[in-house]
Every structure is written in structure tokens, then in C-alpha cells.
Symmetry: C2
């Protein structure tokens, strides 16, 4: 599984960071999904190998502008690029009315259907009934309610429908001759052999490998709400808007968390990889409040693999559950991030 970071700033853009946006796809796949879509997300996409033509679904965590104001422009650009495939949009209920009001006022008509879902459709027991939603079939998606100024959600993405391998050694040991029937077994179908023996597929299928899981949370002042969702997750992507001292000074009003708090939660939950994002613009690589303050605070709480996300970062989660920076620029990337994008303000 792969993550491509499109924006990491909270509230407003800086010259180095755009606001929230994160792409997720299976390794090497063209199809991808987008979590949050701040203003300027489509501009970031131009600097990655991603295309709006192969976007399958957009998940909006909540309706604050720095998480969704880029969606109308993304839809307009997909329309101009000639997209015809349906696009699923998952977000809190008022999102649909807002987008439709914008489409009417700006006379934006899309040559592709939008399939609207709400996070509640993905939460709890109702998660199954999504037959008509063109999400990515390779990913099962669930949603967890968070605590923020307005309804806000985390989305969990779990690998689905992984192929199981046949235990050919056992088949041979039991004298089940190699034949097209092996193919049926591999697909999970029980078969009857020419000699009359009934063979149950599950007896000869290797256990599937562990499904990888990535949880991407929206803004949230109570990381512990993710205890269930993060249990067994390989990666948690979570906001760390402030260091603890700044959060204390600002008070609880904005309902954000600190690097300390989310790192402590991830440690307790046993999350192997923690990706922090959504940093207040007051933190800058070389400013009075360097990014290292956030990093040091998190490291003091968390012994797993910690990453402070940067715009256009590209991570690969391997099958063992290790998350690492992609070794080289994503295939098809039109360019590496420009030097100026990485310079201090």
C-alpha cells in the first residue's frame, strides 16, 4: 500500500505546505482514493503521478474549509479532462448540498455521476450495503466518529479480497492429482475427484496473509476515540496541530490535539507506524518554532516508527507492516518537488 501526502498545513497554506489532502493506493495501482481535499489539492496532484481520471473515491473527514474547499475545483478539472467514470464522494451530510449549490451557481455540469455516501454509511453494521458505490473493491473502508468542532471522522482502509494460495505440498501428499480442479480449489470451490473423493477447498488453501490497514483521521482532540479503529492498524495518520505547551496556551476551543497526546495514544494502542500531519503554520523548518519541537515531543512518548509528513512525501507500506519513504520519485512523477517548495519561508 502507498501513501502520497498532498498537504500537511492546518488552516492556511504556507509557502511549503498546502492544507489537508492524502492519496492512498495499492502498490503500483493506477486507481487511488483521496482523503480530504483542501483548496490547492488539484495543484499538488499535478506534481505526483496521480490522475483525476483514475481517482475512485474522495473521503472528506469534516467540512472545515482546509479539508474540503478544493473539491469543487477537482470535480471541474475532472470534467474538463473528460472523465466519465462515476466518482464516490463520502462526507458529512451537508457536503452534498454545499457542492450542489456551488455547481448550480457556477454552472458546473459533470460528465460523470457522483455517488454520495456519508461516513455513517461506512460505520458500524451498515458498512456492508455499498454495492452500488464504485469505491475500490480492493479496499474495505470503515469510519469512526471523532471529536472536533463539527462532525468529523476517521477512515480506515483495509486490504480486501486477497488471493489465497493452494497448499500444493498437501495436495500431492494426499494424492490429489494436478488438474484444472486445482484451479477450482484455489477459487474456494469444493470439488469431487474422478475417484469419488470429496475435497473441501478450505482444507487445501493456505491462510491468507494478514490484511494491511491504514487509518487516516480528521481533526480530533480525543485520540482515544480511535482505540478500536487503530487496534491492529499498521499505520495511523493523525493531526498534531500543536505542541503541548501551545495547545495549553490556546486552550481547548479549536479542538485539536498535541504531538504529545497523539503519540502517547499511538504508543498505548501499539500502532507500529505513526504519521503526524496538519501542523499549525507557526511551526516551520527553520523558524522560531522549528518542526523538531513537534518531532521531539512525539518521540518522547512513542517508540514506533514516527514520520512527520511533508507535502509530496511518498511512503510504501510493505507486507510485513513496515512503512518507509519510497526510495525514489514515484513512477511517472513529472518532477521532484522543487527546491523552492522545501525552502524556509
Amino acid at each position: 500500500m502507498e501513501i502520497i501526502v498532498l498537504g500537511t498545513s492546518a488552516g492556511t497554506p504556507t509557502r511549503q505546505r498546502n492544507m489537508s489532502g492524502l492519496a492512498l493506493r495499492l502498490r503500483g495501482a493506477k486507481q487511488w482514493v483521496l482523503v480530504d481535499c483542501a483548496e490547492g489539492t488539484q495543484h499538488r496532484i499535478l506534481r505526483t503521478p496521480l490522475s483525476v481520471m483514475s481517482l475512485r473515491a474522495v473521503f472528506i473527514t469534516h467540512l472545515h474549509g482546509d479539508h474540503c474547499y478544493g473539491l469543487p475545483g477537482l470535480l471541474a478539472s475532472a470534467a474538463m479532462a473528460g472523465r466519465s467514470d462515476a466518482l464516490t464522494v463520502v462526507g458529512p451530510p451537508p457536503l452534498r448540498g454545499m457542492i450542489e449549490a456551488i455547481m448550480v451557481a457556477s454552472q458546473l455540469s459533470l460528465p460523470f455521476p457522483l455517488v454520495w455516501l456519508t461516513p455513517s454509511d461506512l460505520a458500524g453494521d451498515s458498512a456492508g450495503d455499498l454495492a452500488n458505490a464504485p469505491l475500490m473493491p480492493e479496499l474495505a473502508v470503515d469510519a469512526t466518529a471523532l471529536s472536533h468542532g463539527l462532525p468529523c471522522w476517521a477512515y480506515g482502509f483495509t486490504e480486501a479480497a486477497m488471493a489465497r494460495h493452494l497448499d500444493t505440498e498437501k495436495l500431492r501428499a494426499d494424492a490429489v492429482p494436478a488438474s484444472p480442479l486445482w484451479g477450482d480449489l484455489q477459487k474456494g470451490r469444493d470439488v469431487t475427484l474422478a475417484d469419488g473423493r470429496f475435497i473441501k477447498a478450505t482444507d487445501y488453501l493456505m491462510p491468507p496473509r494478514r490484511a494491511r490497514r491504514i487509518v487516516v483521521a480528521g481533526d480530533n482532540d480525543r485520540p482515544e476515540l480511535l482505540a478500536t479503529a487503530a487496534h491492529g492498524a499498521d499505520v495511523l495518520v493523525h493531526e498534531a496541530t500543536y505542541t503541548e505547551d501551545v495547545l495549553q496556551k490556546i486552550g481547548p476551543g479549536p479542538q485539536h490535539t498535541s504531538a504529545m497526546r497523539v503519540a502517547r495514544f499511538a504508543e498505548e494502542a501499539g500502532v507500529r507506524n505513526l504519521v503526524l500531519t496538519h501542523f499549525s503554520p507557526r511551526y516551520q523548518d527553520h523558524g522560531a518554532l522549528p518542526m523538531a519541537l513537534l518531532e521531539d515531543e512525539a518521540r518522547a512518548q512513542y517508540n514506533g516508527n514516527l514520520i512527520l509528513a511533508r507535502d509530496l512525501d511518498h511512503y510504501v507500506l510493505d507486507r510485513s507492516g513496515a512503512l518507509a519513504h519510497a526510495e525514489q520519485a514515484p513512477t511517472g512523477a513529472r518532477t521532484a518537488p522543487s527546491t523552492s517548495d522545501r525552502q524556509p519561508r
Copy 2:
């Protein structure tokens, strides 16, 4: 007067060009006005000396997304920056409802008042009644209806309230003694001298210098609609979405003009400086359709000063009516445009 170009692409962004946005201010002033506000305009502003705190008014030419989808984010960032001064927003009537729907859904509350006007308020005889609108008092603004897929306008900005100088030579020749009365005359007040003579101010005021005028048009397939507005204008900023051959191939549906047509109009109207913008993304500096195609086509029709706008260009219109690139980076610019912004795709 100064122009700072924030975006020059039509419809969608490219890696070099953002969509429509143009800043206008008096030379050296902090206060400025913005014409159009595509998605990503606030990101462009970060690369100029402009600040959302000193923005006086926003003028939206029409409601296609590539001209207005950046407005909600700009307002949100101004709110987060702590702006308290009223902001005038001028645009076609549905703009207000669209922005208010977005503000409700995203729970955006502004700590400053918005003063809503429509282009009709600035057009024809009603242009005078703007007493409560915090526009820039140094600029008189008018609006002209254009021809596009939905209601679209050009805005004309004319220097206002220029100081008139006293003709001191004539005062001395007529034996009007230097006294505080000269100050009254300079302010346009008639006075009676100690010797009983009645002195009319207008008899002793030098004619004001010619007011400079810049017309910034939205999308428009009939440049001739600007005949009145452009008469005597120093600068016309107008779209040139296509070359004539591409426009012929695409047909009249999108209701854009060609470099040839707008340049021919500018020549006939005697416009001294023509700034072309809003270029289809098919034209690239080093692509199969180079920008030079647009430039050559316009030059063949137009003998004035022709500029093909580039993002982050900065022009100065001097009192003689000559428009030129600013000699150096605008004061306070945080950086020159990065090299990567100028590289071919």
C-alpha cells in the same frame, strides 16, 4: 498604478500557471484590489508582497469556477489572520448565495463584515451610490457587461481624486498675495480678498493630470463590447484563450475569443497597452503549441505595447501611460518566482 498577475491559465491549473486572479494597486500603496479569485489565488498571494489584511475589495467577473473557487479560502485565511476591516465583494448576484452556503456548511464565521455589491451597482448611472462600500477611494470603478456562457463583466479602474496644483505664477501676476487663502483655493474654495476682490478657485487651479485607467475583462467572445470602456484606457487586460485556428476548430460553444480578435479590437480602439491572459493549458512555453503562437498572432494585428501575462508578473503603469515590467522584485516580496515555476512541463 501597478498590476500583479496571480494566474493566467484557463479552466484548469498547469504546473506553471494558476487560474484567473489579478491584483491592482496604486504605486507603493499597501491597499489593493483583486479581480477574480480562482482556487489557489491565496497560495499565489503568499509569493507576492500583497497581504489579505490590506485587500480592500474583490471583483469577480463571472461565476465559472476558474474565476471564483478561491474566494471561500481567501476569506477563511483573512479570518484566521485576524482581519477586522470590512471587505467589499463585487460579483454577479448568485455569488453571495454560493459563498453564504459554503460558510454555513463549513461553519466559517468571519470577524469582518462583507459588503456585497453587484456589477450592475457599478454600471451606468447607478455607479455613484456606493457611499457605504469600502472600495479604494483612490479608484473609481465601473463595470461593462460582456458576452460569455453566463453573466460576465469587465471592471474599469480609473484614478480618482487627484490633487490639482495652484498656478502660483498666475496668482502672483494678478497680485493675489500668498496667504492661507491660497490653501482654500487649492482645495477648490472660492475666496474674497481683503481688498474686496472675489477670486474663483477654478481660475487658478492647473488642470489635473490625466487620470490613468485600467480595464480588466472577464471571459468574453465579443471584444467590441468594450469599445466604450476601453476608449481612452491605458491598459486593457483581456482573455486570449485560443489562437484563431483552435477557436475555429472548437467552435463558438465555450464563448472565448482568440488572440487575433482581441488584438484587432485593441488596435482599432487605440488601446496603448494590451495584456493578454487566460490561456488554454494546451499552450506551453516549450510544448507542441508554444506561447509564441498566441503572441505572433496578436502582434500581427496590434501595434501597441503587447504583453502576454505570466503568473507573478509585476507591471507598473507610469503617469505617461507606459506599462512596463517592474524593474525588480516587488518590495517585500518573500522570494522571486522559483525556477521551477518557470520551467516547461
